[in-house]
Amino acid sequence: MARPPTNGKGSGMPLEIAQRVDAQGLSCPMPIVKTAQAVKLMVSGQLLEVLATDAGSSKDFAAWCKTTGNELVESSVEGGVYRFVLRRK
C-alpha cells in the first residue's frame, strides 16, 4: 500500500482523502473522464486519490491539472500503478 500523502511541508501530517477513483485497467480517456466526474461532486480544498494503469496518465494528469486549475499534490508510480493526489480548486 502506498504511503499516505503529506501536506508537502515535511511535517509528515497525512492529509485526508475525501474521494477515490480507481481507474486501473481503463484506457484513455476514461481515467481523466472519471476524475472530472468525481471532482465535480467534491468541494474546494478536498483531496482526490486516483489510481490508474494507463501509461500516458502521468502526463495526462499534469495537463488536466494545468488546464482545470486543480492542484496536483502528488504523482507517483509503483509497480505499473500510477497514483495521483489532486486538490480540488
Partner: protein, 191 residues
C-alpha cells in the same frame, strides 16, 4: 499650534515580525487565462473517426474546456437514435439509411470493414483493453457538458426529424454559427 504630534513609536517596542506563512504547496496552475473553446466538426460517419471525435470531445469536456461538436454530413448519422432503422421522408432518403444504418453503434470502418468483421474485431479489442465504446463515451461527453449541434441542412437532406436524434442534442444550426464560433476564437478541429 493645535496639532498634537503623535509620539514616535520606539523601535524596541515593535514586535519581531514572524516569517510570512508559506503556502501549503505551490499551485500548479500558473496561468489564470480562460482556455479557448474547442469546436470539433464531426464530418465523417466512419467508426474510427467518430471514435476519435468522441474521445477528444469527452476529454475536452473533462478538462473543463467549453466544447462543441458540430455534426454535419456523414458525421450526423452517429447522432441518430440506434433504434431507428429507416429514416427519411422520400425513397432516396430511406434508401440512404437502408444502405448505411444510422446510430452510433452501427458505424463501419473506412478501411478493412470486411462486411462488419473489422468493426467487430475493433470492438473486441476495445473491450479487451478496456477502451470505452463510442456510445458510452458519448453519454459521458454529454454528462460533462459537451454540446452537440446538429447541422440543419444535413437534417433536411436526410429527412431527419428532431425526434430521430438522440436525447440532449442542441438546436440545429448552420455554417454561420460554426464560422462565428471560430471567428470568436474556438479552436477548430475537422474530423
Amino acid at each position: 499650534m493645535t496639532a498634537v504630534a503623535e509620539p514616535a513609536m520606539p523601535i524596541v517596542d515593535e514586535p519581531i515580525a514572524a516569517p510570512a506563512p508559506q503556502p501549503a504547496a505551490v499551485p500548479y496552475h500558473e496561468h489564470e487565462a480562460k482556455p479557448r473553446d474547442v469546436l470539433i466538426i464531426c464530418y465523417s460517419g466512419e467508426l474510427e473517426k467518430v471514435w476519435a471525435t468522441i474521445i477528444l470531445a469527452s476529454t475536452a469536456g473533462a478538462m473543463g474546456v467549453k466544447t462543441r461538436v458540430f455534426a454535419t454530413f456523414w458525421g450526423l448519422q452517429p447522432f441518430v437514435k440506434d433504434s431507428r432503422r429507416i429514416t427519411g421522408q422520400n425513397w432516396m432518403q430511406k434508401m440512404m439509411s437502408f444502405m448505411q444504418r444510422p446510430g452510433i453503434s452501427h458505424r463501419k470502418l473506412s478501411k478493412m470493414n470486411f462486411l462488419g468483421m473489422g468493426p467487430w474485431m475493433m470492438g473486441s479489442l476495445a473491450r479487451k483493453y478496456n477502451v470505452a465504446s463510442p456510445k458510452d463515451l458519448l453519454a459521458m461527453a454529454q454528462e460533462l457538458g459537451v454540446e452537440f449541434l446538429p447541422c440543419q441542412m444535413t437534417m433536411d437532406m436526410y429527412g431527419l426529424k428532431p425526434e430521430d436524434m438522440i436525447e440532449g442534442m442542441a438546436e440545429p444550426v448552420g455554417a454561420a454559427t460554426v464560422i462565428g464560433l471560430m471567428a470568436e476564437g474556438s479552436a477548430p478541429l475537422f474530423i
